[in-house]
Amino acid sequence: MSHTVPSPDQHPDVETLSALVDGELDAPTAHEVEGHLRTCRGCDEVRDGLLALRQGLDALGDPPNEDVGSSPSSPEPSPPERPRRRARRRGLVAALGGAAAAAVTFGLLVGPERPDEEPRRATSDSETLRFVVRDHREYAGRTEKLTRRTADPSTLSRWLRAEASIPFEVPKLEGAQLLGGRPCTILGRSLALVFYRYEGTWLSLYGIPVEGGESAEELMAGLPSGCVRARDDLSACAWQERDAVVALLGARPPEELRRLLARSGLRTPDGS
């Protein structure tokens, strides 16, 4: 998607700044707009406002608590079920079966999202994680998005370095099939996006090279430490390599991704 790039004395419009905070601008436009923001306090404040809103909204997708468990149209807590609802819900229980039916029957509608799992820290407060989750959803399963198709990690690593100047060693994940990868830009920085097929699902691995003057710890601040449930069916694992920070996303439980990484000789901060 192309956007109008502002000249140095022009302010980008609100639509453009809104698309910027959503990561929806193409890389050259984002670069230009970010350059303008460094010199324009007014636009930077507009961006701050948009960011504050976006972060607040993002938190609404976290597990319900007293504040967010109710309807936006009806801020009061959900009322007790009415007989009509129970009658209709049986239809849903029958239709879904299994876990979903149990969830509905036992009140997951208004209760904790996944009470039996680890706390989902590093979700709403993680800008980077939010971007990679959305990125994964956009690309998962779409082989046409593979700029370089290869099953060989070394080949892909060489290609990323030569074609996109991204120094990242693509790891081999034991039991997962490397499909290929592409360079991408998230929050204004270039990184490697690598895709694997694993147990019938699509895994996205983000390799973020550590650049001069920054530390891996700074990059990790935007990602979960270890393996966590990222959002709904997606789990995310992040860890540090010598010259990069790596994040893996996929629609598998966090424990399974942790085991996959352990089998591959990769250790997350919470790996055993």
Partner: protein, 178 residues
């Protein structure tokens, strides 16, 4: 997608559908009805779905189209949407970026109420992109409109939410520098 796979995979998205349904419906009870109807329809149409990775966006789309079908007669159509200039939106959003004193972050309840007050055509794109993490392209597919429309509606929705959260202009804005 066969029904058994659908049942297994769709269960993971139940909370997202409920959240979305609650942004659409007047009451939690209506939202639960909507999700039930959505799952019933989706189960019927599951064989049409080839790509399981697209399931979440597909379910959100089924939720929205089901809502439109069920509430075609009762959806509010007289919502007056102020047409704000870019300058006006900038002024509102700048205030939202400067929380005053005790408010270091935007309160969830306040945000929910502000989002609920939006007209549907702004509320839905904002919710899909801001809360459910959909890309603009996904939101456009769900809402059956152009990506540019989503981009515009999200920006305008944010300005309206900011106005409710940050309050009206007090006229003490600084002059912007280039």
């Amino acid at each position: 997608m066969d029904p058994e796979t659908f049942r297994e995979l769709s269960a993971r998205h139940l909370q997202a559908l409920l959240r979305f349904a609650r942004t659409l419906c007047e009451s939690p009870a209506d939202a639960e009805d909507l999700v039930q109807e959505t799952y019933a329809r989706a189960l019927d149409r599951a064989p049409e779905l080839r790509d399981e990775h697209a399931l979440r966006a597909w379910l959100l789309r089924v939720t929205y189209t089901t809502f439109v079908d069920l509430h075609r007669q009762t959806r509010a159509r007289s919502h007056v949407v102020p047409v704000r200039s870019d300058e006006e939106m900038r002024s509102i959003l700048r205030r939202a970026g400067r929380p005053s004193g005790q408010e270091a972050h935007l309160e969830a309840r306040e945000l929910m109420e502000a989002v609920a007050a939006l007209p549907e055509h702004q509320r839905v794109p904002l919710w899909l992109t801001g809360v459910e993490g959909c890309s603009y392209a996904e939101a456009a597919r769900i809402c059956d409109c152009a990506v540019g429309t989503i981009r515009s509606r999200v920006a305008r929705a944010r300005a309206e939410v900011a106005l409710r959260v940050a309050g009206p202009d007090t006229g003490d804005e600084d002059v912007e520098g280039a």
